[in-house]
Structures are given as structure tokens and as C-alpha cells.
């Protein structure tokens, strides 16, 4: 599953997308495999001048992001719409 996610993200960036919003609104739990895939997607995005942001994190996932400082690596938005509206701000 996390491999598929990583492939999908890589493909989006390869297509030239410069702003990718990962929508967590339907997500209740993430494991370390997924976080690994998300973070390695970010490492792929940076040299391609692309940005990955996250939106709609539930309380637990938001806490986890803050606990392990992923909030310093990803911009976090309340909703995907917020992420779209605030692009580049």
C-alpha cells in the first residue's frame, strides 16, 4: 500500500505537478510504512521544485506529526480547500 502511494506521488511529480495536497480526511490511522513513503515522496519533490502539503489530519495524526516534527517538514491545513486557497502563501 505505501509502495503504491509512493509510486503515485512520484508519478504526480514526474507529470510536472508542483503542488500536491495529501487529503487525510478519510484517514484514521497511519503506520510508519506510510509515513516513510510520505517523507520519501517529499525528498523526491524538493529537488523537482514541487511542494507536498497535508490537509484534514485528525487529532491523533496531527499529534503524531507534531511529536516527530513532521510539522516542520510539511505545511498542514485544516481542509484540502484551505490547502488549495493558501498555495504559495
Amino acid at each position: 500500500m505505501s509502495d503504491d502511494f509512493k509510486k503515485e506521488m512520484t508519478a504526480l511529480i514526474d507529470k510536472g505537478n508542483k503542488y500536491v495536497v495529501v487529503d487525510f480526511e478519510q484517514v484514521i490511522y497511519v503506520d510508519s510504512s506510510f509515513l516513510g513513503a510520505l517523507v520519501s515522496s517529499l525528498k523526491y519533490a524538493i529537488p523537482n521544485q514541487a511542494e507536498i502539503v497535508v490537509a484534514g489530519l485528525n487529532k491523533d495524526i496531527l499529534n503524531l506529526f507534531s511529536l516527530i516534527r513532521l510539522d516542520k517538514a510539511f505545511k498542514i491545513f485544516a481542509t484540502p480547500q484551505d490547502a488549495v486557497d493558501n498555495r504559495g502563501k
Binding site: 484514521i28 503506520d31 510508519s32 510504512s33 516513510g36 491523533d60 499529534n63 513532521l70 516542520k72 517538514a73
Partner: protein, 383 residues
């Protein structure tokens, strides 16, 4: 018996599908039902069964073509596959076997026989899988590859212990290392390579080697700064194309027995829990560093804690704070704090034997590691 027994039934006849499903559910199986190969392929995108039972005679895509479609997809190729059909032609049966189908069951076979065939087969799959794990584990131990130490360090004035459980008994992505420099200084390393099972396991040794090397190089240079050591490891990992895709959290602790001080730096790790015995309070100690290899500058810091007699520190990986409740999996640090609180003034072995870790061992959501550092009363022994 395998823990999970999920079957994907594929048959264009809804009545056969319903009957077969009802009979199998009665025998404790969970059934996914598809009336065509294409529908089955769609279902596989959402959910993976333990075995597929497919009809041979179906319009559009027949059973053989369906089998071929599965063989062409690496993720589906190894799902055990059985043909269920009224076909008695031996050529057709042979063709089925050539398509790596596990078995060929005639539809008029009594349900009990079908069930026992499936059960036997799933048991064989599980046993083969367990044997492979065992063989790889034996190979790993022959190569002396251990991701956790075999012995505890003896440190004057301190007690250090740990608890570790790997994900479903695969040697996991967590690694622990104790590096005793001399009577005064001991380093403690807890890392978590992101990912599960074999990939993480192999990489955890790579990372362990990086960290051991970096720690030792820094020591040779007379540098005992945990922050500096993490910066060095980060720089190595970040610029190394071979491991640039792998990310790992690390908690690095240096115990200084002379000063009774513990220095701590972290890279994307969970906060360390610090129990102050005099005050009777526990607090999270958070480091600033980011995951190893994520950014050129990991933003590391170094926190110094003076431990007094009775104080303890707990270093943990995320498996410890994951738990599975009625409403699904969750990640919550407070569950750990609440569980450990009654044990602050008790021996760590009591907590190791307690319900919380027992539950972790059974739940098996992820690798779980917990390191315990306790400041004993000052003594004059020379260990």
C-alpha cells in the same frame, strides 16, 4: 489454523455464488463475492483475500483468462488460486494446473470436502511461510545480525534495561545499541527505520552501522556531543544516494556517570518520558531534530538532564503508542504515560511483565521498543 481466512469467490451464477458463500461463512470463512473476473480485479484493489476460488466457465473473461490476468500482476500472482468448476475434461484440468492453479475442485464436491481442501491448503501456505522466516532468522543469527543487544550494559549508578518486540516476529525496523566507551560514558541508541518486515530489517542494519560508525568516529575525535553526532550521521545519510530513500528516527543518549547527567538528542523520534522522583511528576522531553536524511540540516539540539536517585527515563518507538481499540487503530502517547505511571516507583521488570506490554506483544501493530534508564542510589561499586 491461519488467523484470517478470507476467500474471494468468483462465479457468474449468483445462485451458486450465494450458496457457496453461505456454506463457507458457516465454516468460519469471510467471503468476498464477484460475479465476473473484472469485478474480482476491482475488489482486489481494495482488499486482499487469502485465497481465490473461481469458476471456469464465465462469459467475457473465463476462469483461465482471469488466472492469467492475476499472474501478470506481481501483487496478485501469489494469491493461492483454486478452480471451482463442473468441467471434467482432463485437458482443461491440465491447462488449469499449468496456470499455477493450486487445485481443481468439481462443483458437486461436498462442501465439507471443499472446506477441508481450502483449510489444508492455507495451513500449508502458512507453514511454508513460517519455515521461510525461521530459515532467514537462522541465517541472520549465523551472520551475527542482531538489531537488539544480547546483553545489558553495566553502568555505575544506573540501571538500563529494554523491552523489544518485532512486528509479527519478523526481525523489525527498530534497532537498539549500547556502546560503552569507558567507566564514565555509555551511549544508548534507539532507532526506527520506517517500514515493516524485511525491507526495514535489512536497512536497519545499514543504519545501525552508520550510527555505530558515526558515534565511534566522533568519540575518536574527542567529541561526545549527541547533537554533533546526529548532524554527522544526517549529513552522511542525506547525501548517500543508496540510502537516501530510507528514513529513520533515532534517539541518541549519552550517560555520564561522573556527573549523573544524561544528554539526549533526537531525530524525528518520539519524546522521551522523564520521571522526576522527588517531585513525583512525569514530563515529555522533546528534541527538535528531524528524521535522519530528510533535510540537509536536521535542526538538531541537545538536551541535558541531571538525574537524581529514583529518576527514570523512557525512550520509545511508535509501536509503543499505537493501539487498536474498538474504533480502529490509533496513535496516542498518553496511553503509554497512563500505563507506565503506576510503575514509576517499581522495578522495570514489573512493567515488562504487566498487561500493557503483554497486550502490545499480542496486538502486533508495529515493531515496539522501550528503553529504560534508571538512576540508582550512588554507590562505590566499580561496575
Amino acid at each position: 489454523m491461519p488467523v484470517s481466512k478470507k476467500i474471494l469467490l468468483v462465479d457468474d451464477n449468483p445462485i451458486v455464488l450465494q450458496m457457496m458463500s453461505r456454506a463457507l461463512v458457516k465454516e468460519g470463512f469471510e467471503c468476498m463475492k464477484a460475479t465476473s473476473a473484472n469485478q474480482a480485479i476491482e475488489m482486489l484493489k481494495e482488499e486482499m483475500p487469502d485465497i481465490i476460488l473461481s469458476d471456469y466457465h464465465m462469459p467475457d473473461v473465463d476462469g483461465f483468462a482471469f488466472r492469467q490476468m492475476l499472474i501478470d500482476v506481481p501483487g496478485y500472482k501469489n494469491i493461492p488460486f483454486m478452480f471451482l468448476t463442473s468441467e471434467v475434461d482432463s485437458d482443461v484440468m491440465l491447462a488449469g494446473v499449468n496456470l499455477e492453479a493450486v487445485d481443481y475442485i468439481l462443483k458437486d464436491t461436498p462442501v465439507q470436502v471443499i472446506v477441508s481442501k481450502i483449510n489444508n491448503f492455507l495451513t500449508t501456505v502458512r507453514e511454508t511461510h513460517e519455515r521461510s522466516i525461521k530459515e532467514l532468522s537462522v541465517a541472520a543469527s549465523a551472520l551475527n545480525l542482531n538489531s537488539v543487544p544480547q546483553t545489558l550494559p553495566a553502568i555505575k549508578g544506573f540501571e538500563v534495561d529494554f523491552w523489544h518486540k518485532s512486528f509479527q516476529n519478523y526481525p523489525g525496523g527498530d534497532f537498539i545499541d549500547f556502546i560503552k566507551i569507558n567507566a564514565r560514558y555509555t551511549f544508548i541508541v534507539l532507532g526506527d527505520v520506517m517500514g515493516k518486515k524485511w525491507g526495514a530489517w535489512f536497512f536497519s542494519f545499514g543504519f545501525l552501522s552508520y550510527i555505530r560508525a558515526a558515534v565511534r568516529i566522533c568519540i575518536t575525535e574527542g567529541n561526545f556531543s549527541t547533537k554533533n553526532i546526529l548532524q554527522k550521521i544526517n549529513a552522511v545519510v542525506y547525501h548517500d544516494p543508496v540510502v537516501s530513500d530510507v528514513l529513520s528516527s533515532v534517539s541518541l543518549v549519552l550517560i555520564d556517570t561522573e556527573e549523573g547527567i544524561v544528554n539526549y538528542s533526537g531525530a524525528g523520534d518520539l519524546p522521551v518520558l522523564y520521571y522526576n522522583s522527588d517531585a513525583g511528576t512525569a514530563s515529555q522531553v522533546r528534541s527538535a531534530g528531524m528524521l535522519l536524511g530528510l533535510m540537509p540540516d536536521g535542526d538538531f539540539d541537545e538536551i541535558s538532564l541531571k538525574l537524581n536517585t529514583g529518576d527514570s527515563l523512557y525512550i520509545l518507538t511508535d509501536g509503543i503508542i499505537d493501539h487498536e481499540g474498538a474504533d480502529g487503530k490509533k496513535t496516542d502517547y498518553n496511553t503509554f504515560t497512563e500505563a507506565i505511571t503506576p510503575f514509576f516507583e517499581k522495578p522495570f521488570t514489573d512493567f515488562k511483565k504487566g498487561a500493557f506490554l503483554k497486550e502490545k506483544a499480542i496486538a502486533q501493530i508495529d515493531d515496539c521498543s522501550l528503553i529504560y534508564i534508571y538512576k540508582k542510589a550512588d554507590d562505590n561499586s566499580t561496575n
